[in-house]
């Protein structure tokens, strides 16, 4: 069963076509990676899927329903959560407060929200920092907070936008573990990532885009061997030599 289907998605900003007739789909319980050079349109694609932008053309189906005109908060209530590439913690508030904001998506009661938030923090091994001001966290912890907040909304599909950028190798490994663990919990995961080692280890399938167009898809092994992908990343000359 497909949880997300993207058909012919196109997003234009004036004369710039950031995403160009993109097609992809994700099965329930899958980890799908989306990679591409800087400026390839990955984050724009994410924003279209998450309801931030209304796509110029094409449609997005989440859980079988077309998402046109649905706002980010509507989609979140339906089970689509996301993190941001540039982390956006509610900096003056504690970690617990941040996660509770997410937990309020599924409940109106404060006590219940707090309980849910604590549970999320526990599963992410983050509970010891619950009273830290989120603006004081290290970058690794802020990324983890992004995930915790998104997770507190109890999503069925989680969009992760470069949650490993800027992390040390040890922290990357830890994050890979976390994402795998989430998948085992039944959350479908769609991840943008630049760190090849991580995304190769993590993804079931990978979609590669370049200048907004899909240039390859397949298992990590297939994608890594694909000529177009190598060209896109290293430049045309390398493909020839």
């Amino acid at each position: 069963m497909k949880i997300l289907e993207v058909n012919n998605l196109t997003m234009r900003f004036g004369g710039l076509t950031a995403v160009d007739s993109l097609n992809l789909s994700i099965e329930k319980g899958e980890i799908l990676g989306l990679i591409g050079p800087n400026g390839a349109g990955k984050s724009t694609a994410f924003n279209c899927i998450a309801g931030v932008y209304t796509p110029t053309e094409g449609e997005v189906r989440f859980d079988g329903q077309i998402t046109k005109r649905e706002k980010p908060w509507d989609l979140c209530k339906r089970g689509l959560a996301r993190t941001f590439q540039i982390v956006k913690p509610f900096a003056s508030k504690s970690v617990l407060y941040n996660v509770m904001v997410g937990a309020f998506a599924t409940t109106d009661k404060r006590a219940e929200a707090e309980e849910k938030a604590i549970n999320v923090l526990k599963t992410l091994n983050f509970e010891d920092k619950k009273d830290f001001r989120s603006g004081d966290l290290t970058i690794a912890d802020r990324k983890r907070l992004e995930i915790a907040r998104a997770l507190a909304t109890e999503p069925s599909l989680l969009l992760l936008d470069e949650v490993m950028a800027g992390l040390r190798p040890g922290e990357v490994d830890e994050m890979v573990e976390i994402i795998r663990f989430l998948r085992d919990q039944g959350v479908t995961i769609f991840v943008i990532e630049h760190i090849m080692r991580a995304i190769m280890a993590l993804s079931d399938r990978i979609v590669v885009i370049h200048f907004g167009k899909k240039i390859a898809q397949g298992t990590p092994r297939e994608v890594a061997a694909d000529e177009n992908v190598i060209k896109a990343y290293l430049g045309g000359e390398y493909g020839v030599s």
């Binding site: 931030v52 908060w73 979140c76 941001f84 003056s92």
Partner: protein
């Protein structure tokens, strides 16, 4: 029960009562070391997670819980004390001038608390709240003068009208950010003032343009919201202030409060977490404008004379923002502390410098604002709250130490 945490402090797993009776001198040592435990810079929220080496996590938790309960009761005692003080004040202070000054302190604390729901929690800076004061004051006054409706009812009518206007203002302006929002709200308020100044009759309603409206103090009494003495006004505004503070407290702990804070700080992240930020802001705006209008009616009945320049002026809007920024935006105590600090400055500078240097208080406001923004960007409530927590912590430790000691003594006596 009291012997347990004490026995824990010696780090032994043997039965607590025996332990405590054997090593009773240590009973005074333990709380002493607890007192000297450094208070974390982040204030109260951090202390629970702080580990002290002699305790296991579980023991630490029991300790923290007990301390939190003690601190809670200390807080309650403080609140009751302040409430008694506030309610008893008119028994001590008889001078109408002083009462007038205090009433205006409460009035501005109330206004700023109402403003705080939008300006503090929702993270925008409205600079036109005088429009709601004006709507409240004019609604109740016109209804009273022309139709004989009790100002108490007129108050609610003004409130409803304000909600309507507040939402009309909020719908287009909440899409703007930062200074643009502030400027837009100023424009609305000033536009409203100019309109009121130039309209003598609005249909059957006599507005009287720049001359304003005077309420003849004929039928004095509670029903007509008119009194010869200051005390009734004092208690009315005090109760209104307490009510708005309680409401603010409830909101800050509710889903709406979390949503407003989140939407104010990082709107995009908030939206992704399922928050319709504009709607949350509109709800806050509706409440804020309703409450502000009630204060407008209060002011009209208190001064018995309203005119556009005094009641819908930018000065009032700015003063509210000044008080909020200096006291601490988005906090519950901030507006009260700000009003306590700034209102006397304004009143006394008017009394002493009014002839020589009119507007001198605004210069002082400016200087205070600059100093506060440099040294305490989150307002004076922050250092004061921190100070309160340190004192409450110490007091809680002292109380627990006493309790432990007396517990030990009892046990020794019984053996």
């Amino acid at each position: 029960m009291t012997g347990k945490p004490y026995g824990d402090s010696t780090n032994s797993t043997s039965s607590a009562p025996e332990d405590s009776s054997l090593k009773s001198p240590a009973g005074s040592k333990y709380p002493a070391s607890d007192v000297s435990r450094p208070d974390s810079p982040g204030g109260s929220t951090l202390q629970a997670s702080e580990k002290s080496h002699t305790h296991s996590p579980a023991e630490e938790e029991v300790d923290a819980l007990e301390k939190a309960a003690l601190k809670d009761s200390i807080g309650k005692v403080c609140m009751i004390f302040i409430a008694l003080l506030a309610f008893g004040l008119p028994l001590v202070i008889k001078s109408p001038t002083w009462l007038h000054i205090i009433i205006l302190i409460y009035f501005y604390a109330y206004l700023t608390s109402s403003w705080n729901m939008v300006g503090g929690f929702a993270g925008v800076l409205p600079l036109g709240h005088a429009i709601f004061i004006g709507i409240g004051a004019y609604s109740s006054t016109i209804l009273f003068l022309q139709y004989g409706v009790s100002p108490w009812l007129g108050m609610l009518v003004g409130g409803m009208l304000s909600v309507f206007v507040g939402i009309l203002i909020g719908l287009p302006t909440f899409k703007m950010r930062g200074a643009y929002f502030a400027l837009a709200t100023i424009a609305f308020a000033e536009g409203f003032r100019v309109m009121v100044e130039n309209i003598d009759y609005l249909g059957p309603l006599q507005i009287n343009g720049p001359r304003g409206l005077q309420i003849p103090p004929l039928d004095i009494g509670l029903v007509n919201f008119m009194f010869t003495r200051k005390e009734p006004y004092y208690y009315i505004i005090l109760i209104m202030l307490i009510a708005v503070l309680a409401l603010t407290w409830a909101i800050s702990r509710s889903k709406l409060g979390y949503y407003l804070n989140a939407g104010g700080e990082e709107p995009e992240a908030a939206m992704a977490l399922g928050i319709n930020v504009s709607r949350a802001k509109l709800v806050a705006m509706a409440m804020s404008s309703f409450l502000t209008a009630l204060a407008g009616t209060f002011y009209a009945q208190f001064s018995l004379f309203i005119h556009p320049r005094s009641i819908i002026s930018l000065d009032v809007s700015f003063e509210i923002a000044f008080i909020a920024l200096i006291g601490g935006r988005g906090s519950i105590a901030g507006p009260v502390l700000g009003a306590l600090l700034l209102r006397p400055v304004s009143d006394f500078s008017r009394i002493y410098f009014g002839d020589v240097l009119p507007g001198f208080h605004l210069i002082i406001y400016g200087v205070v604002l600059i100093l506060v923004m440099i040294y305490q960007p989150r307002g004076i409530q922050e250092p004061l709250t921190r100070f309160y927590h340190i004192m409450a912590d110490k007091q809680a430790d002292r109380m627990r130490a006493n309790r432990l000691e007396s517990g030990v003594m009892k046990k020794e006596g019984s053996q």
